[in-house]
Amino acid sequence: MSLPLFPLAQRLRIRENQIFLGLTVLIGVIAGLAAVLFTLAIESTQDLLFGFSPSWWRLLVVPLAASLGAGFLLVRFFPEARGSGVPQTEAAFHLEQGIIPARVPIGKFLTGVLCVGSGHSLGREGPSVQIGAGIASAMGRWFKLSPSRVQNLVPVGAAAALSAAFNTPVAAVLFALEEIIGDMNAALIGSTVVASVTAVIVERSILGHDALFRVPAYQLVHPVELIAYGALGVAGGLISLLFCKGLLRARQWFLHMPSRSRLFQPAMGGLFIGILLLFFPEVMGVGYEYVDQALNGGLVWRTMLLLCFAKLAATIISYASGNAGGIFAPSLYLGAMLGGAVGVLVHSFAPFPTGEPGAYALVGMGALFAGIIRAPMTSVFMVFELTQDYQILVPLMVANMLSFLISRRYQPVPIYHALLEQDHIHLPPSGTRLAGGAVRVRQLMTQDITFVPEEASVESAWRLVQAQSAPCLLVGSRPRLVGLVSYPTLQQAMESGKSAEPVSQFLTDGWTHVHPDHSVEVALDRFRQNPGLLPVVSRRETSRVEGVITRQTILNFLESKPEM
């Protein structure tokens, strides 16, 4: 009404693009401040709880007591704040349209400070990523941006927070693209760069321009030295594998414990850490001070090797028991200790001239990061950004690639995705999203599903399967799929006189599923592995059935889409 009368006012109205740009800068500032504050809060809490020279009982009691408090907060108020924060951010970006509830960054801040500050061997980058992404998501919704814009702000906030937490703006952008978005060609590169640079400016204006680590001047003394770096890459791959397998197994063990123990699981981890701290106080918290020492040759090689394994055990237990904190920093710690120890040994015993052990520690950091986090580009650029030295690239790439390949060969699912899978969340891998045509499973599936309750008898299931002439039945309910039971299995059970037994005892092994966003090609491929029925489950909760694919649905689809 009034607008035509006031064209100037109309021109002054900013559009969503401009708001997005302004918001990107502001998110850089606020996420950067949040990340710096998070870092400082962890350090202050650690000082407060342990003092300069903690007594043995303090080392033992503080992690236990703090984890009890953290456990209460995590179970009652902030269940999304457990663990790293990176997988949750990825899930929010891919599955929740970037919506992260405002309580998540608050909860992550509090529990992260409590857990890492009380000595748990966890990192601050993962939580910072979730805090930054949460702030960005909340601000996007507060500014009432369109859902796609809100989704786009998640990696922007993550990059900004990581940039401020780790002081490497380029690596932070790459991490957001490579890990969070899963696409190095994403159109969001401009926004993430703006936010990342803004955040690092804020961080440096507060904490100073000193690099996170004092990095030794690197020099490849002799080409044969590449063999030593290759050996470091292999060792890094094996340690990465040990870490990933150990973490997943320990976490599975904790997840299988009765649900009422959830409240106390972080405290169980706290007790373990307390005992470990009595012998290895150096594994406490983030541990970057000791990474710096390893880089600058202040640690004895035996100590570094011991710390590598102590940190490995500490991080596995801290994380698996459900405390809040990441594995980004521990992976660098492990790499620095391993690399430092290898470096000293190579330097002392190699029959050829070698560089300083600090260079090996640096390459070790990249190798373990590539092996554990599985972001090889980020790992290369991160170390490059730390050193600002082109000479390190060749040995770094040799070690990183070897570590990455070994880790991928024996642990095909990346750790963040594997952790989500343990929580029954399946992220769409970039390969799946890009593969196949435009037709997706959701267009193919039917929602006309018959379930057999898991307590139903074999006889009732047999009658149902006969009545429907179905090759297979889903056991459970729509929100909770228990498994599949096939026609031949039921027939065999009936013939062997087990008609009264519950159907849940005759579930088919090795069945597979698809998600609604999978391509038809993937669905057809997986259909062959199942006994005539392919469940379509939610990515957010893999026990939730969203539909099924049967022979009939495929035929129907082909008839309706002859061009396929």
Partner: protein, 413 residues
Amino acid sequence: MESDRSTQNTQDAPRCSVCGSPLKAGSCPRCGDTGGFQWIRRETLLLVLVAVASVPLYLFTREVAIRNRERKALAATYWHQRGQQQLVSGDTEGAIVSFHRSTVNDRENFQYGLELAKALAAGGYPEEARLALLRLRDSAPEDSEINLQLARLVASRGNVREAVRYYRNALYGVWPTETAAPERREVRKELIEFLLERQERTIALSELLLLSSELPLDSGPHIEVAWLFLRADDSQQALAHFLKALELDPKNETALAGAGESSFYLRDYRNARRYLRAALAQQPSLENASQLLEITDLILSRDPLASRLSLPERHRRLDANFTHALQRLESCMERQTESTEAHVSDLQTLHQEARELQPKLQLRSLRRDPGLINEGVDLAYRILQATHRSCGERSNLDQALVRIGERYQGGET
């Protein structure tokens, strides 16, 4: 464009002028635009508000950072002091841990880093200490203390070239002005001692000459330098500095003993005896001087080629010396099982030679052929050298006779 969107079709329900969504009760349910006069939109206002709100957050974070830094500095001081106490009480491992923690809390503090490196070196971790020092050196290549520590580390591993480089870097590095000269002198002395231990006499002598050129007018430094010259086999320079020290402090027993020793090595046995006697008069407990004096006295009293001696006296001295050498040889040959075959063969040859020469060393023969005295002195010398190689220990008389033999090896008469 946006106003076009709201007015393009008057038949449609009214739409938001900003985002195009259908309006409800005059306002947009999506973006909250009321459609009224508002030249600053809600989002603009929010952007400004958030930007303003971030200022106190920034200031707060900065304050926390400053407090954090102060606390870390305190922690670093605490650990540094604790490390020093542990070092004093001999707990090097504990000190290493403490110094680690001090550097962890304040990694920019140069002194903490240096203490850590020293503790690592003292704790038997030379490689780690070297690396820690190299890191420190990166930031302060001219620092004399770091270069000195590096030199000591490298020296302990026997790398002469590197050690000399670091010692020289330390010498020409930056020292506190008030203590620069004595500190440099001490470092140069340390370098010289290292070089002498490693048998690098030539470099040691060049450093000694530099050191001697910057000595203060005090007997102590001159005496120290003189002893170093003596170790470097430059008895002439050593004597000069001992004499300079005696000029400054005529009754200094160390200088007297040193002058005596220097004169002894310069084969000026009369002056050696004079200085050594004077030194022992000042300080009778000087064991080395006492032994040297005894040898000097023996040299002076048993030299058959000394000037102004009668022939019978020469004969008497030669006979006594030769008899002693022969006895020594025979006693050594009795223990020949302990020696190597080559040594045994040498001793037997010498014994044969001595048995052949002994009858010729009569007074009459000496009158006829004074060259026999030289032959006798030379054989005694060779016998005592060989017995020393085969049987070890050497008495003062042995040493005196060797000195006499050496004196005439070059044809001196």
